[in-house]
Amino acid sequence: MNIIMILYYLMTAYLVVILGWNFIREKKSVNDLILILLVLTPLVLRLLRVK
């Protein structure tokens, strides 16, 4: 794994944390909660090295 690839994994992890934080903070909109989880899907699959 080269340095650029490691940086991309770090960026992905950062986005997952930010989205997770938004999920926790969201109080009203169920639509937004679902959207956050949808956006999280490919990011989590990449971090888990599934796809």
């Binding site: 169920v30 899907t41 989590v44």
Partner: protein
């Protein structure tokens, strides 16, 4: 507050179920190991990391099966799964590894050249993850791969792939396409290192002939053919005419374009003494206007939409109700490869390569490809290798 908590927990449970149900089959697919039984002809097994050490430990470090004859002679390399969604090539390699005995010369076989692509899946289109080849001992399960290496091995893609060393601008995807990264370099992206390792094998071991086996759509003009550069054209033409006349299946020769870089049939010839040949057999499964991409379509190549297009003369191959089965495609690859070796041996008798134990087109179509594979459960465990 309680409502909010309940909603979020419910959504997270659904999210987890969604991830597991979608991700688990992909996780299993990536780790699925295809057994092959090395036949009596296999004398040594190398790895690509023997030629580029930085590949060691990576998914791309694939096996190179070496079949050496009693008599010295010429050397040939046969490769498949350069594009892992064209599986007739893989089955042809397995057929060689399990059955071929080299009488004279040396045969190298790389069954899963792009081992990462063999563990990748195509998003969309509903491609199957596996297909089964029927054999007398049960179903032989083959992992269906994709055209390009997985981003899990090589990420991110560039905006444009600048080919090395010609600096030709290719699609960003081609950086993961091991038939665009030839001749490669030892410190480039992963696929360039894979092709460089193969180039090093060809140069160091002075390999005479390289055969890269593929499959192409029936609506694509470069199908049912041998693609060859100027230096291989004579042998390719005689081989093509011979199989057409003697074995009765259609085949022609396509010239390797000099200005389209990165392909095996171009760069192997330009960067080594080896004569390259790229074989294309029609694969209806890859055509766009077909019905569902089922295992049945993969195996029998029968599709009503292609049949209709064939009647309107829109296909580049003869196509009827019989489709274009896997047995036919493997048979074509086997016969064309054997004929290339035969014609090469005729032209360079001091570097002749002679094989036995390999069936040709008619025999494979009659018996089915599955009849040539051996049961790994009953084989000597030392001869079972996993791809």
């Amino acid at each position: 507050v309680n409502n909010e908590k309940t909603t979020k927990i419910g959504l997270l449970v659904l999210f987890a179920a969604f991830l597991v149900s979608g991700g688990l089959p992909l996780w299993k697919h990536r780790r699925f190991r295809m057994p092959l039984v090395a036949g009596p002809g296999v004398t040594r097994i190398l790895r690509l990391s023997d030629f580029v050490p930085s590949l060691k430990g990576s998914v791309a470090d694939t096996e190179v099966f070496v079949l050496e004859g009693r008599e010295p002679g010429g050397k040939a390399l046969v490769m498949s799964n350069t594009h892992a969604n064209e599986p007739a090539a893989l089955l042809t390699s397995l057929l060689l590894i399990e059955n071929a005995v080299v009488e004279r010369g040396t045969l190298y076989v790389i069954p899963t050249f792009n081992a990462s692509a063999g563990r990748n899946t195509k998003p969309g289109d509903g491609y199957p993850l596996y297909f089964d080849v029927p054999t007398s001992w049960g179903a032989m399960r083959i992992r269906m791969g994709n055209r390009d290496a997985s981003p899990l091995e090589q990420w991110p893609d560039p905006d444009l792939y600048i080919h090395y060393p010609d600096k030709q601008m290719l699609s960003y995807l081609d950086v993961r396409n091991s038939n665009r990264t030839w001749p490669g370099r030892p410190d480039g992206p992963l696929m360039e290192r894979v092709t460089y390792a193969a180039m090093e094998l060809l140069r160091r071991d002075k390999v005479d002939v390289a055969i890269d086996m593929h499959g192409a759509e029936t609506m694509f003009p470069v199908t049912n053919c041998i693609v060859a550069p100027e230096k291989s054209a004579r042998i390719a033409t005689i081989a093509s005419m011979t199989v057409k006349a003697v074995e009765g299946f259609d085949n022609h020769v396509e010239p390797s374009p000099g200005n389209f870089r990165g392909l095996s049939h171009r760069e192997i010839g330009d960067f080594s003494e080896t004569l390259p040949f790229l074989l294309e057999a029609p694969i209806p499964f890859l055509d766009q206007p077909t019905g569902p991409k089922t295992v049945k379509l993969m195996m029998d190549g029968k599709d009503p939409f292609l049949l209709s297009l064939s009647r309107k003369k829109k296909l580049f191959v003869p196509y009827d109700e019989n489709g274009w089965s896997m047995d036919k495609r493997v048979g074509q690859h086997t016969s064309v490869a054997l004929e290339i070796l035969k014609q090469f041996s005729k032209k360079y008798p001091e570097r002749a390569i002679r094989l036995s134990g390999v069936p040709r087109y008619a025999e494979i179509v009659k018996n089915g490809i599955g009849s040539y594979f051996h049961d790994p459960a009953k084989a000597d465990p030392k001869s079972v290798h996993y791809q």
